[in-house]
């Protein structure tokens, strides 16, 4: 029933596909520094499916958090109560993140650009007088600097995927090859950007984000229409593997448990 320009119907939503695809970038046994919102959903889904041994770390201090519902805030009580240990803020950043002990960072973003630089600070050109003031950086700059790799999870649209971000809150690859090294950043940076339409990865030579996979029912044009810079497409474009029944059951159950807990 794929009409011209219309997306094929799937038995899952685009957000579900995004969360599932992001969760797969976590391998069992990895440690993951988790941002709140979409990244936290994906990281917890991984723990409930293929990666039960993943160690989830939240910037509020819990290490090895095992929440049964998705936290609304970065410091919900359940994160502390289910953690292996809860440490202070200086300890989580200085002793755990900074030395490069953490395998993976899971981050969201308001804006991302061609070279995977992230903006969560302002919309507009004048920092002192912004058109829109966003929350700011939180832990993201150091998470993206120090984790061995980073997965970014965000919805694909023209406001979010821009040629150049209005403000670099969190460095991706700067203006291309070599910038991370010049800045002394030791982690690999955003190695994968997962959206509700597909998956982007940095080109190994230019560091520009390239479309490497589209989700089922999504065309390359669908993605390009939601992307401000002329998006390059990988020579061997993949189709993202559909969510398995187990993944969908686990994700929906996680969301239902969360909704039920929040309406108590």
């Amino acid at each position: 029933m794929s009409a011209l320009g219309a997306r094929t119907e799937t038995p899952w939503t685009a957000d579900e596909m995004m969360t599932v695809a992001a969760s797969r970038s976590l391998r069992d046994g990895m440690s993951c520094f988790v941002g709140i919102g979409l990244p936290s959903s994906a990281a917890n889904l991984a723990r409930h499916t293929h990666a039960p041994g993943v160690v989830l770390i939240y910037e509020s201090g819990p290490i090895g958090a095992k929440p049964s519902t998705l936290p609304l805030s970065i410091g919900d009580g359940e994160l502390a109560e289910t953690a292996d240990v809860v440490v202070s803020i200086p300890e989580i950043f200085n002793y755990w993140l900074q030395p490069g002990r953490i395998d993976m960072g899971f981050l969201g973003a308001a804006q991302i650009d061609r070279f995977a630089n992230i903006n969560t600070t302002i919309i507009g050109n004048d920092y002192r007088s912004p058109r829109v003031r966003l929350p700011g950086s939180g832990g993201a700059p150091e998470i993206a600097g120090a984790c061995r790799e980073v997965t970014v999870v965000m919805r694909h649209n023209l406001r979010a995927f821009v040629e150049e971000v209005d403000f670099i809150t969190t460095p991706g690859y700067g203006r291309g090859q070599g910038d991370r090294e010049r800045w002394g950043l030791r982690g690999a940076g955003p190695t994968m950007v997962v959206t509700d339409l597909g998956i982007l990865k940095p080109d190994p030579d230019t560091c520009e984000l390239v479309l490497v996979s589209t989700h089922q029912g999504v065309t390359v044009d669908d993605v390009k229409m939601q992307n401000q810079w002329p998006l390059q497409v990988a020579a061997e474009l993949a189709t993202t593997e559909a969510p398995t029944p187990e993944e969908l059951v686990a994700l929906r159950s996680l969301n239902e448990t969360t909704d039920a807990a929040n309406t108590e």
Partner: protein, 272 residues
């Protein structure tokens, strides 16, 4: 010697106009009641410091208490924007708000230097961000041993730090557990400190994950059960997520905010 006092007396004694004031508590144990008392006492021209200026600083800003904010993430956790914070930055209402903005790791290290009696901390951070060009008190330093270029961040020493904790004992030691954030460093970095507590006990037993801040670091303690609501106090009450969502609507325009300020904060005495 730690002094025990009612909240209104403690705030009157410790917080003055123009002071640099830190209210800390990372999602957990946020000292809301003390923030409300600062509003009631009509403090002005404050420099307010907080890693996560959520609802409590939205309220202080909307009430016109602050001249400047030092922060690292300004949002309503899990909900969205802080509308009073945005209105002040975007439109200068009710007064213009100067900002000094950091990453979490950076602001945490400003407190660490302050608590350690050092002029600055050294860290890996801010590199590659536009923050470094827009934020005072951050620069680079060369390692004297290896020559490596690192980030230097200036010490922060608030005039007064206010936190909320689960318990105090009768001698003024403070016990807290669960997510304890940056509270210890914020207390030790400050010239004066106020701790509001759920409970005052004769002496402590030992719940898991408990941290103790010794009495010698605490200037005043006020017994304020529920003083962290609508945030939570592990072992006492849960986070009122609904209140955080309602704040989004209530704070969205100036009129409903002012009505809230007059009816809920100014009309009441010390918060229950």
């Amino acid at each position: 010697m730690t002094e025990f006092a009612p909240l209104s007396d403690a705030v009157a004694a410790l917080v003055g106009d123009g002071d640099t004031v830190a209210l800390e508590g990372f999602t957990h144990l946020i000292p809301f009641a003390a923030g409300h008392e600062i509003i009631r006492q009509n403090r002005r021209e404050l420099t307010i410091i907080r890693m996560t200026p959520d609802l409590v600083y939205d309220q202080l800003i909307g009430a016109g208490c602050a001249r400047k904010i030092i922060f690292s993430w300004g949002g309503n956790p899990g909900v969205g924007s802080l509308h009073r914070f945005r209105d002040a930055i975007e439109h200068g209402w009710p007064t213009p708000l100067e900002i000094e903005e950091h990453s979490h790791a950076g602001l945490a290290n400003r407190y660490v230097a302050g608590a350690s009696g050092l002029p600055f901390s050294v860290m890996r951070g801010y590199s590659g961000t536009d923050l470094i060009a827009n934020t005072e008190n951050v620069t680079t330093v060369s390692c004297p041993f290896t020559g490596e270029k690192l980030t230097a961040i200036r010490a922060l020493n608030p005039d007064v730090t206010i936190i909320h904790a689960q318990r105090a004992d009768s001698r003024g030691n403070v016990q807290m557990w669960g997510i304890t954030g940056i509270q210890k460093e914020a207390i030790l970095a400050a010239n004066r400190s106020l701790v509001t507590v759920e409970e005052i006990v004769h002496s402590f037993d030992g719940p898991p994950m408990a941290h103790v801040i010794p009495s010698m670091a605490v200037t005043m303690i006020a017994h304020v059960p529920g003083g962290a609501r609508p945030s939570y106090s592990l072992g006492y009450y849960e986070r009122d997520n609904e209140a955080y969502k309602q704040w989004d609507t209530l704070s969205r325009n100036r009129e409903t905010f002012q009505k809230w300020l007059n009816q809920v904060i100014m009309a009441n005495g010390e918060v229950q």
